[in-house]
């Protein structure tokens, strides 16, 4: 079977993803329920695969998950990670915090429904999942004033914002974050396969701004101002919403979860099972590939090394991957994807306080601050036994911890007891500043999809960029499983 020209029929036949999504349960085809793991294979196939080696490029959650899945399938696996730690953008840290407090400076939460593969891993690897109330009772600062969720469901308040009666009715009956659904829902049922955006009757809308759909559906000027969408492809946005609907996931899930001890527990668990197969401070410097295998050169603490394998699974974010010389060159359509996928990046702030000061101020600490230096704030690690609390905030790269704290204090309607301010600025990362993949540009969906997932010869692609929905840990674990299966079929 050739893997050079993947076509969408392969993904239509991937019922294991669709059935797992629509049923909202872990898929038996993706790996089976926890009790049936590890996957059973004939001993003959396993022993033949034991002779096959896979180099996994990148030791983030995508690479570690892919390495774990390949190991389970009997492959000889090596994971090469450029930095001195594995986990990538799933990063739990305790530095600077006291009393055992910690914070997830990168990937924040999972949802349910959604993240089915991830939930299976938590059961398989005995990781405890905690409810994460960060989206409960959110206070939203709009035009300098704070609004509770009750206020934002009050028709009188909504009327003052300028919403029309249809919008007011929706917002008074649905969460504030679901607003886009009012305008896009009528279009979503045409999408039957979450991996197939084309041929459902909306192909021409890739060059239409999604804002035109909002207008078509009668959006008020206030709604248009809030939703934006002048430069976002209607086809891409509708497809994205359809993926969520097919998975049973709201646009803005209110019930979210995290791992006790931090989300890095999962990549750590993969890495533990991979053992010394994970090699840190190994920067890949070139890739050579042929019909029979791959050879990778890498730099390990200044020492140049080389390793050959039967396959390469690239789990390095594409802006970093594109700096690696590949011989022979990738096909033009694959290189286009490598050169043009863009990501967001930001700073994460952590404030440690002496008390839950917001309770004295009779307010919620889950806040959308809408300040240019700090967009939002919420509590983390609330299960830790201490009188101290840790709060997390998000803002753009380039903002220091003290500046973010000053911004918080300039808008917080009360008196805080913050005693420590920390920051992780992802835009300063040496190897991969990249957080989540951004929307594909208008008019270019067919240049990116499905090529972003397509393997080329012995090189396969997984990671947060390499799935249909761009939610980091979801895309990373799903695509890691896809690639492990691709390589198993190709071996």
């Amino acid at each position: 079977m050739s893997f050079n020209n993947i076509d969408m029929t392969r993904y239509k036949r991937r019922e294991f993803i669709k059935t797992s999504v629509t049923a909202g349960i872990g898929s038996t085809i993706l790996g089976g329920a926890a009790a049936a793991r590890p996957m059973e294979q004939s001993s003959q196939k396993q022993s033949s695969q034991k002779n096959k080696r896979v180099i996994v490029a990148g030791g983030g959650i995508g690479g570690l998950c892919c390495g774990y899945e390949l190991l389970r399938r009997g492959f000889d696996v090596v994971v090469l990670e450029a930095s001195g730690r594995h986990g990538g953008h799933v990063f739990t840290a305790r530095d600077g915090l006291s009393d055992g407090l910690y914070a997830d400076y990168g990937a924040e939460h999972i949802t349910k429904p959604g993240y089915e593969r991830y939930w299976e891993y938590t059961r398989e690897l005995n990781l405890e999942v905690l409810p994460y109330p960060r989206r409960k009772n959110v206070l939203r600062r709009i035009d300098g004033k704070f609004y509770t969720e009750e206020m934002l469901a009050d028709p009188a308040v909504l009327r003052k914002f300028g919403y029309n009666e249809r919008e007011i009715k929706f917002l008074s009956q649905n969460p504030w974050g679901e607003f886009q659904a009012l305008f896009v829902d009528p279009y979503l049922d045409k999408f039957k396969d979450e991996y197939q955006p084309f041929g459902v009757g909306y192909d021409q809308w890739d060059t239409t701004p999604i804002q035109e759909i909002y207008k078509k559906e009668g959006a008020s000027p206030a709604a248009l101002n809030r939703l934006g969408g002048k430069n976002r492809s209607a086809l891409y946005e509708l497809w994205r919403s359809a993926i969520l609907k097919l998975r049973g996931v709201p646009h803005y899930p209110l019930e979210v979860f995290r791992l006790r001890g931090g989300n890095q527990q999962l990549p750590n668990a993969f890495a533990k099972r991979l053992g010394d197969r994970v090699k840190l401070s190994c920067l890949i410097t070139s890739i050579r590939h042929s019909a029979s295998g791959v050879t990778v050169t890498y730099d390990e603490f200044g020492e140049k090394k080389e390793m050959s394998a039967d396959f390469l699974a690239n789990c390095i974010p594409l802006p970093a991957f594109k700096a690696i010389p590949i011989t022979p060159a990738l096909p033009v359509e694959k290189q286009f994807v490598v050169d043009h996928v863009v990501y967001d990046s930001y700073s994460r702030f952590v404030f440690q306080a002496r008390s839950k000061f917001w309770e004295a101020d009779k307010t919620s600490i889950n806040m959308d601050l809408n300040h240019p230096d700090i967009g939002s704030i919420w509590q983390v690690a609330n299960e830790v036994d201490t009188h101290r609390v840790a709060l997390m905030g998000s803002g753009p790269g380039g903002v220091s911890a003290q500046r973010a704290l000053a911004a918080f204090r300039s808008v917080y309607p009360g008196k805080d007891t913050i005693e420590q301010a920390l920051v992780k600025d992802w835009t300063k990362e040496q190897f991969a500043y990249t957080c989540e993949r951004l929307d594909f540009p208008m008019g270019q969906l067919s240049k990116f999809w499905p090529h972003v997932m397509t393997p080329h010869g012995r090189i396969h692609f997984a990671g947060a960029y390499a799935d249909n929905l761009n939610w980091g840990m979801e895309a990373a674990t799903r695509s890691a499983n896809r690639v492990a299966k691709e390589i198993e079929e190709a071996a």
């Binding site: 863009v342 990046s345 230096d373 803002g395 753009p396 790269g397 380039g398 903002v399 835009t427 300063k428």
Partner: protein, 251 residues
């Protein structure tokens, strides 16, 4: 010798100072952002920058990636071998030239005015912007194409100083209160002057690869590859930039 020139021919001394400031020797050296004068208060030492790879006058295929590595040693800031120099503070400037090079011709090419660039390298500009490709923010080439005239410079400088969002997408550029109006204007003027230069590119990091992307219609030529590091000076003042250059031929 310079003291004698200053004593007997002040205009000649001034001319020599101008040469020192504006004409850089081809391999190795440094340039100061202010005239070099003996001073008991000036304690900063210039960084030593060396391109270890690629070799000088190497020949490579056009439109490929060439591996490079740079080492920096600075008496005050430390040594890049021990990660004492942040990798992201080391830059490579790539300028393409068409004719084959005699080794003395490099000095004749018009020097790039790097004042604005040095401010950008010391600030956080390159964390979110690349020279030719979009990453978190627009590329400098895209900005130069959109705002071709220097008359937009003051408005753009205000955006850098005060922060900006919405012009290029939903990402937020934070405010830069550490930069003065004069400094941000210098940055903007550099972007508008050089951002659209097809024969110019920049990459960052103490090692990695750079592209030998030839301008449209060109099939051969050479790149002057110049590595640069600007140190932290003395409390942020009297910063010095060290550099090294090699020629890379493309066929």
């Amino acid at each position: 010798m310079l003291t004698n020139i200053a004593r007997y021919c002040p205009p000649c001394y001034a001319a020599v100072l101008l040469v020192i400031l504006h004409v850089m020797p081809f391999r190795g050296g440094y340039i100061s952002l202010r005239p070099t004068q003996p001073s008991s208060q000036q304690r900063n030492t210039a960084p030593i920058v060396k391109i270890n790879e690629p070799g000088h006058q190497g020949v490579y295929s056009a439109n490929t990636l060439v591996s490079y590595s740079v080492s920096v040693s600075d008496k005050e800031d430390g040594d890049s071998r021990y990660d004492e120099i942040p990798s992201n503070s080391i830059f490579l400037e790539l300028s393409f030239h068409q004719n084959s090079l005699n080794s003395n011709e490099g000095a004749k090419h018009k020097a790039i005015d790097r004042h604005g660039l040095t401010l950008m390298m010391r600030s956080d500009c390159f964390n979110c912007h690349q020279f030719k490709s979009r990453n978190i923010g627009p590329a400098f080439s895209q900005i130069a194409m959109k705002y071709e005239s220097q008359r937009d410079a003051h408005a753009l400088a205000a955006r850098i100083m005060n922060g900006s969002t919405g012009l290029w997408g939903e990402e937020i550029m934070p405010a830069h209160p550490d930069l003065s109006e004069e400094q941000t204007l210098s940055v903007v003027q550099w972007i508008l002057k050089y951002g659209g230069t097809e024969t110019l590119d920049y990459v960052r990091g103490k090692s990695g690869t750079f592209p030998t992307t030839l301008p449209r219609g060109k099939s051969t030529g050479y790149f002057i590859v110049r590595a640069m590091y600007t140190d932290n000076g003395t409390d942020g003042n009297n910063v010095l930039t060290g550099y090294d250059s090699v020629i890379v031929h493309c066929r």
